[in-house]
């Protein structure tokens, strides 16, 4: 039985879709069967980031409505044959989603895959509620800034009240990814530190991802940054994916500036 993980944030633009793509590929690199599902009906982006833009024929709404079979709509990744992708509809809107149909779709995905990663839309509207409804766990992506934290806090509150697992009396596992950390800005106090964020949200940390300019180019080219061995963000995503697969990996410190010679000397005398 597969593990259903929803990637949520509340606020838009914090890197949900990038995180989904990289974690999905990272899990596949760990030799687990993984499917990433774009739940952002009407505003699909995940296909571009995975480089599968021109391969989309059928979408999730067509599968749910019975117009296409699941095997027809699932797209195998060019980069890894353990990774599959299910596209969102670009022409329909969020009202196309219905609880019974989503439940049926997720149950059939559970049979075929080890990990089912759902990319939630931004906001806390019905599209978001449908994404988290049948999830076993949620990954909350935040940026180290107050508005992102507050929106994530609200999204967690809804997750704790609306998900099917909570209604059944169980608890949804919640993991935090702090994305786009800029060490210099954290040290100067402009960005919130990880410990502050963890205090506010009160959930477990899954990983920290540093700000990386290479991500934009990686997204444009449809090659997730996790494939780039020289990228700090890519390595961070790799660690996160391995942690999700059950490996115990240390959390490297990303919030101190690893600077030049002078700072290293200062570090010695600290």
């Amino acid at each position: 039985m597969g593990n259903v993980i929803a990637v949520i944030s509340g606020k838009g633009g914090v890197g949900k879709t990038t995180t989904t793509a990289n974690i999905g590929l990272g899990i596949a690199l760990n030799n687990k069967r993984c499917v990433v599902v774009d739940f952002d009906i009407g505003q699909r982006n995940l296909d571009m980031i995975l480089g599968l833009e021109n391969r989309v024929v059928y979408d999730i709404v067509q599968v749910m409505d019975g117009e296409a079979s699941l095997s027809q709509a699932l797209i195998k990744s060019k980069m890894n044959d353990k990774l599959y992708f299910l596209a969102a509809s670009q022409t329909k809107d969020k009202t196309a989603l219905q609880s019974e149909k989503i439940s049926k779709l997720i149950e059939s995905l559970r049979e075929d895959f080890d990990y089912i990663i759902l990319d939630a839309p931004a906001g806390i509207e019905s599209g978001y509620e449908h994404t988290i409804e049948f999830a076993d766990a949620a990954i909350i992506v935040v940026n180290p800034e107050v508005s992102s934290i507050r929106d994530a806090d609200r999204a967690i509150g809804i997750l704790d009240s609306k998900s099917q697992k909570v209604k059944d009396g169980a608890e949804v596992a919640k993991y935090l990814i702090i994305n786009r950390i800029d060490a210099k800005m954290v040290q100067s106090g402009e960005m919130l530190s990880s410990s502050d964020i963890l205090d506010i949200l009160g959930i477990n940390l899954l990983g920290k991802v540093p700000e990386d300019k290479g991500i934009i180019d990686a997204s444009n080219q449809g090659k997730p940054i996790i494939l780039n061995p020289n990228s700090a963000a890519g390595q961070a995503y790799k660690r996160i994916a391995s942690r999700l697969c059950g490996e115990d990996i240390d959390m490297p410190e990303l919030e101190t500036v690893q600077g030049g010679f002078l700072q290293k000397i200062k570090g010695i005398f600290k």
Binding site: D153, I200, G202
Partner: protein, 205 residues
């Protein structure tokens, strides 16, 4: 004063047809001879003579005090019992609210959540930005507050919380007045007083 109490059998009748009346008492004389006859309607000379002749005791045009039947009395007792039970239940609830009205919560209150408490609240976790707490009783929050707080109790205790929106009895509390690790805000003589709770507790030996 000398009193005596009797239980007397009473036969109540209405006089309309005199012949019918006399024939009725002729046939049923043995049954009613010891009864007190209550007659409604005017009694003519003829009837009065007839009653005297038969030695029937009677009264004319009086309203009898009516006692209730057994069933009605039982019903009334049941209703009274029920009312008494209701009063007792309400008293019980009231005393429960007075004695057991402290709610303790250790989960954090997230943005968008609104907690409304009838009694007192002891909150052992954070109140995040965008969350609201309304306590009609006293309120103690041991962790940082960044959301809104409305308290209508006698006192509240809060950590220094520069980002919180605190309203105590419809009066906005100035955050800069909460300085210490724990501060007591209370209503005394219609005046809001804020006193820091000092870290060291001195015990009287």
């Amino acid at each position: 004063m000398r009193n005596k109490q009797y239980s007397v059998k009473v036969f109540e009748t209405t006089l309309t047809d005199e012949d019918q009346f006399t024939s009725f008492f002729n046939t049923n004389y043995n049954l009613f001879k010891d009864y007190l006859i209550v007659i409604h309607g005017d009694i003519s000379q003829k009837i009065q003579e007839y009653l005297q002749e038969k030695e029937l005791r009677f009264v004319n045009n009086i309203i009898l005090p009516k006692s209730q039947g057994r069933k009605a009395v039982e019903e009334e007792i049941a209703v009274q019992k029920e009312q008494q039970q209701q009063v007792e239940n309400e008293l019980l609830k009231l005393s429960d609210r007075l004695h057991n009205n402290l709610k303790v919560q250790d989960t954090l209150v997230r943005s968008g959540q609104e907690l409304t408490i009838d009694g007192d609240l002891l909150l052992l976790n954070r109140v995040n930005s965008g969350a609201t707490i309304i306590a009609n009783g006293n309120l103690i929050v041991t962790q940082l507050v960044e959301g809104s707080i409305r308290c209508f109790g006698n006192f509240m205790m809060l950590k220094a919380s520069p980002k919180a929106n605190i309203v105590f009895h419809d009066v906005v509390v100035d955050n800069s007045l909460l300085k210490e690790r724990l501060n007591r805000v209370e209503l005394k003589n219609n005046e809001i007083r804020i006193t820091p709770v000092l870290k060291e507790t001195t015990w009287v030996m």
